[in-house]
Amino acid sequence: MPSLFSRNLLLILLTVASASVQAATCKTVCAQQQDWIQSWVFNGRTETVVRESLQNQADQKLKQMEEACGLTAEQNSKLKLAATGDVNRFFHEVAQLRKATKDLNQQDQNTVQEAWTLISPLSTRLQAGLFDEKSLFAKVMSSTLDEAQANEYKKMLREQIERRHHALVLAMVSTLEKHVPMVGDQREKLIELLDAQPVKDVKQQGLEAFVGYAKLDRVPVKELEKLFDKDQLTVLNSLRERYAQIVQMFR
């Protein structure tokens, strides 16, 4: 029994020691092998998954255009090629960035900052979508679609943005109700007022979440006074003041 106990005690010590060494080794090796592009640009996804995802997005966009304005086979082929070009150009930049960040020391805070400065524009572009107005896709589209097709497509996009903004107005009013009690009639009239306020589409700047507050900022005070009592207005005005700076971006 004593020999069994000593053997087990030795085993315990060995286990603890080995676990500590493993943890220390893993920490060093994992830090060395961390792929900054995968972590910061692809958000943990592999390059293959991101490429596939972008290709699917392009296919989906073509389908949408097909439904909105009826593309010819030639137009479809040109746009498909342009979308592939955008995806390839993006991954070319990814490859260049990999080279530029390959030998940077990941343990040094200044280097990490430097790497982030290089990487963040690519990350932002991927978040915003590759087929924006600066893309090859957009350029080919403007030279390929005829006027009627282009108008149909713009109309469809405008309606999509209006739906998004309406949804954000509803979300903002719902959040307001956690601060300001509203009766049903007040809620409906406030939504009508907010929907009627024009604001810029600021999706690219990542400010879309503030659309409801931007619209609230544009509602004339007199209109709000007709709708709400003094106490409700106190809270509404506090919220308007809180977001006054950021909603300037929507003008």
Partner: protein, 319 residues
């Protein structure tokens, strides 16, 4: 006999390994923060998650206490408007100082606790009180009775309501060996229960007709919130999947019936457009094959917390 000895020895080995590893972990925690034994184990924040607020020292010099009271009072004014007066606000700051606040398994003290108690637990009650005043037109006597549901009442209930806690195995194990705080209930769960209790108590004061009007207003507000969140999710999906009008309609209906829809903080996903919330699997039935392909590649993340207003409970990555 030999078999029994062997089993006993193996059990001893297992207990020893677990004890040693726990003590090893505990030593690390204590080395980093000597006050660790006084509070539940805090998990490391995930990437992108805002840092949790540290408990403030409850015995502060007078000038610091004043500052804390100011923070609380500002929050009250913004959060509740006429729902509670300035005197009640000042009173509540003192009352909530003694309430244990646990958000996402982390205990908060000082102004963090006051702020959370105010916004998460008191605000819904205060806003409902104000809704009753507008919808039910209570008489003087009813108003007097309704005034009991103030910060003091919420604080009392916060202490007595049994809330579901966040399970933390390592924290629990540590507590068994090292003592420390017992596991606390989740503040959001506590807030929901306090709200339900408030409605039950209010029903005793209002007439049947008044109560029906109040319940109707609350139901409409809840349905509106579900619709708002569902339409936001549909708008996010539409951006990526280019949905037809019929698909948008079907998805809105499905999402409105989803049990988690009311708790979504949809603004987060408009701000972080590579993510979608973790949606129920049956929504993919509404999508066509190519839409499903795009949908399956979108990262789904549960954001718990609020961008505009209340708490700040961080991000939980689910897949």
């Amino acid at each position: 006999m030999q078999a029994i000895q062997k089993t006993a020895s193996q059990s001893l080995l297992l207990i020893a390994v677990l004890t040693l590893s726990t003590l090893f972990e505990m030593r690390t925690v204590i080395a980093q923060d000597p006050a660790a034994l006084e509070k539940p184990l805090q998990q490391e924040p995930a990437k992108g998650e805002p840092a949790k607020q540290e408990p403030a020292n409850r015995e502060q010099p007078p000038e610091q206490q004043e500052e804390v009271a100011m923070v609380g009072a500002q929050v009250f004014q913004l959060g509740n408007g006429e729902a509670i007066g300035v005197e009640v606000e000042a009173q509540a700051v003192e009352i909530f100082r003694d309430v244990t606040i646990v958000m996402d398994g982390v205990e908060l003290g000082g102004d963090g606790a006051v702020q959370l108690a105010t916004q998460v637990m008191l605000a819904p009650v205060a806003v409902d009180n104000a809704l009753i005043r507008r919808v039910c037109k209570p008489n003087e006597d009813q108003l007097k009775q309704l005034s009991q549901f103030d910060a003091k009442w919420v604080a009392k209930e916060a202490k007595s309501v049994k809330a579901n806690g966040n399970k933390n195995v390592v924290g629990g194990f540590l507590r068994v060996f090292a003592g420390g705080m017992p596991e606390q209930g989740n503040t959001n769960d506590r807030a929901t229960k306090i709200s339900a209790l408030h409605r039950k108590e209010v029903a005793k004061i209002l007439t049947a007709e008044q109560n029906a009007a109040f319940e109707k207003a609350v139901k409409e507000r809840d349905e509106f919130r579900n619709r708002a969140n569902a339409e936001c999710v549909v708008a996010m999906l539409d951006e990526r999947l280019f949905l037809s009008a019929e698909q948008r309609k079907q998805l809105t209906e499905k999402l409105m019936a989803w049990k988690d829809i009311a708790n979504l903080e949809v603004h987060f996903y408009f701000q972080n457009q590579i993510y979608l919330p973790s949606l129920p699997s049956d929504i993919s039935k509404v999508l066509n094959e190519s839409q499903r392909a795009v949908f399956s590649n979108i990262q789904q993340v549960n954001f718990q917390g609020q961008m505009f207003g209340v708490d700040d409970a961080g991000i939980l990555i689910t897949n």
